[in-house]
Symmetry: C2
Subunit: 427 residues, 2 copies
């Protein structure tokens, strides 16, 4: 299919929170303790919450920069494309890229809102998370109906509260919860304990997908402190296989047959091998480990529960039937450095040149819409939703590559505190 | 190709050290401090060295057992098939399985002889490692010329000493050094430091392959203490991608263009995705990370330096051209639980039914022979080396499945001290 004729819904993008996130949704009594943006004397912007300072407001938000500068982390809003944090500019960038729909993961709070969960004042943390979620749903997504798949931040420290938040937001049309790859790695009970059951129950009853982004365990694939940063960038997507294995063999899948999980930014080319490995492990070992999926193989179980995604993965495309045509979605990863925005459609079209149109439609938007109960065509006719149609609307919007001179140059991991920014330093 | 017509050289098997390893090769002054086997009052056998007790002499040595008992770790020699530790019985088992050649990794010392390296008396440790190597080459491999690819234990604490040992053994025909996936994880300098250069130089000058077995970093893929053991078993092979990425982007490859590395027991189906990921990482990031392979792509560099292997990997077979026909070898994994011995030939033949004979020959023995400078046909005619010919010689040797009643039953990780047996608990 020609790039111009694709319909693209991305299940993995990122937003950089603008300074006004908490202006309109936090109860008045918490106003003066809200997370806030501060400009520092050196010209950088930081988020400050509950005594914690989060630098690099736009970590890896490099869309529209020359590749030579990908290591230069934006340290201030004026070093980023406005599309990173301004929803009106984001829509223009989506149009320019031909992207109809987008699900945006959080930035400064961490993929599972660890920053807020770390607060000792749990009432404050709860209020802040609810305010963020309301901002995300009402302001960010609400500004352009049918263009964003809304996503909720979780309440990590209390599964009952988290379940309530899932139900509250489901009533507002939210069918995605961003969550950690591995709660045990963050100091919470693992996927193998009953602790989380109230949350799994809410997700299945409300039809909400558990969206697990790579890096959300807080554990980067760092082989050695002095390893080149290329090592970590290479390994990040496949590393999510740990979460996939953890969940496939867990009680979660067995007790909550309706649960659905997305492996966000995890790529797909490794999945067929992984499925074979699951089945071989089952065949060789289940007689002594006691694993029982009611006569099914774990690869079948995987396909019932997991959504995978890619930016443009030639191996995943070639092996799409071994993965499952209903289990693959597309992602743009705007504004991170793995993204090929604004040429993502062309990249995908080239990689998928041999894929029949009906199969490609599943991958580029149908699976995303079904998994996330997202119906963009209630707001816009399908024939106006193609890459070509959207780009026509963006006529005149500049996508030129811009350089910034204020940024620090970061090379081979030098200058990056890998531990500190653990879960947020995505490839 | 029919199973009976295959020629099989396995690049990954395991031996359980018999009690007499150190009887004939340790200088007299160390005799009373040699590692030794002790029988305990409960009937179990343990190795004892320098104050450390290593239980489970035959960890995962389950060949010939019913699968229901795979979790029952053999705790005494009489709970194992003699082929695990007796070279004459091993040869009979190899014949019965139709396996012409075999490279045997160590068991109780750990894949990189960490047990010996941990001794504070480095003179003793050095003597013990040299004695082990001499036993391995002269007695285990020497008993049946042309049937074993000899392999050396490394001297982890001193690259110069290790280089000398590599050269000493190369003169005896040894072209494989077992080594750790990640020295940094064991507390030694990482692959990114000049520290190891004397070793890399010796390996390249002597034509010795660095054989890196999964699990040899001492870090298991354990997601949570209460995760089912199936999670770890599933993840072990792919986890070696960390070592592959670490080495591809390292200075080792760039400074020592002759170095060759084997990813032992790592499987192959994930490799094509990994190679794409390497190349995408290069394309998107090398302008700021500074990676430079003289104009080549990292996937090309990988194929120059890395040997992969599988037991029977349908995805790897299907994608063999994307991996590299010269970069895939076969392994049996006797006597571990991933092995399908004595039916390995049938399993492979079924999985590779569509592979042309010439391609399959590269995978089943030609690549192994070339990489490890191994020439079994100097000792035995090729027509007598097939699965069928070897099995004819094994006529009458029993391969019946036997049960043991002394063993503990181990289920879902209960009873296994995962931390303690870290690098030795292979799938």
């Amino acid at each position: 299919m020609q790039a111009q004729d694709l319909i693209l819904v991305s299940v993995d993008d990122h937003l950089v929170e603008p300074p006004d996130v908490f202006d309109h949704h936090l109860p008045a009594r918490y106003r003066d303790r809200a997370p806030r943006v501060q400009r520092r004397p050196d010209g950088s912007d930081v988020w400050v919450f509950d005594g914690t300072v989060i630098p690099n407001v736009g970590l890896n938000a490099v869309a529209g920069r020359p590749r030579e500068e990908y290591g230069v982390e934006p340290t201030a809003f004026d070093e980023m494309r406005p599309g990173c944090y301004d929803v009106h500019e984001r829509i223009k960038d989506m149009d320019a890229g031909g992207v109809l729909g987008s699900m945006c993961f959080p930035s400064f709070p961490g993929f599972s809102a660890r920053l807020f969960a770390a607060s000792e004042d749990k009432d404050l943390a709860l209020a802040v998370i609810r305010a963020y979620n309301d901002w995300h749903v009402d302001e960010w997504c609400g500004a352009y109906p049918g263009r964003f798949i809304p996503m909720a931040l979780p309440i990590l420290w209390d599964p009952e509260l988290c379940a309530s938040e899932v139900r509250r937001l489901a009533a507002k049309g939210v069918h995605s919860l961003t969550f950690t790859e591995n709660p045990a790695a963050l100091g919470y009970p693992s996927f193998h304990e009953e602790h989380w059951d109230p949350l799994w129950r809410a997700l299945t009853e409300e039809g909400v997908v558990l969206s697990i982004h790579l890096g959300s365990s807080g554990q980067l694939s760092v082989t050695a402190p002095n390893a080149p940063v290329d090592v970590m960038i290479t390994l990040q997507p496949m590393n999510i296989c740990q979460a996939a294995a953890d969940l496939v063999w867990s009680r979660v899948i067995k007790r909550f047959p309706g649960i659905r999980i997305a492996l966000s930014e995890g790529g797909t080319g490794w999945i067929p091998y992984f499925l074979d490995r699951l089945d071989r492990t089952y065949e060789m070992h289940h007689l002594w480990t006691g694993q029982d999926f009611g006569g099914r193989l774990p690869s079948e179980v995987f396909r019932e529960h997991f959504l995978t995604c890619f930016i443009a993965d030639p191996v995943g495309i070639a092996l799409r039937h071994a993965i499952g045509l209903d289990n693959i979605a597309w992602e743009c990863d705007y504004p991170h450095s793995d993204s090929s925005w604004p040429r993502s459609a062309e990249e995908l079209s080239a990689v998928a040149a041999d894929v029949p149109d009906a199969e490609l439609a599943k991958i580029t938007y149908e699976n995303a819409c079904r998994w996330y109960s997202f119906d963009p065509f209630a707001h816009r006719a399908k024939e106006s939703s193609t890459v070509g149609a959207l780009r026509a609307e963006a006529a005149g919007h500049s996508v030129e590559v811009r350089s910034f001179d204020k940024g620090r140059f970061v090379r081979s991991g030098q200058g990056i505190d890998l531990g500190e920014m653990a879960e947020r330093a995505t490839a």
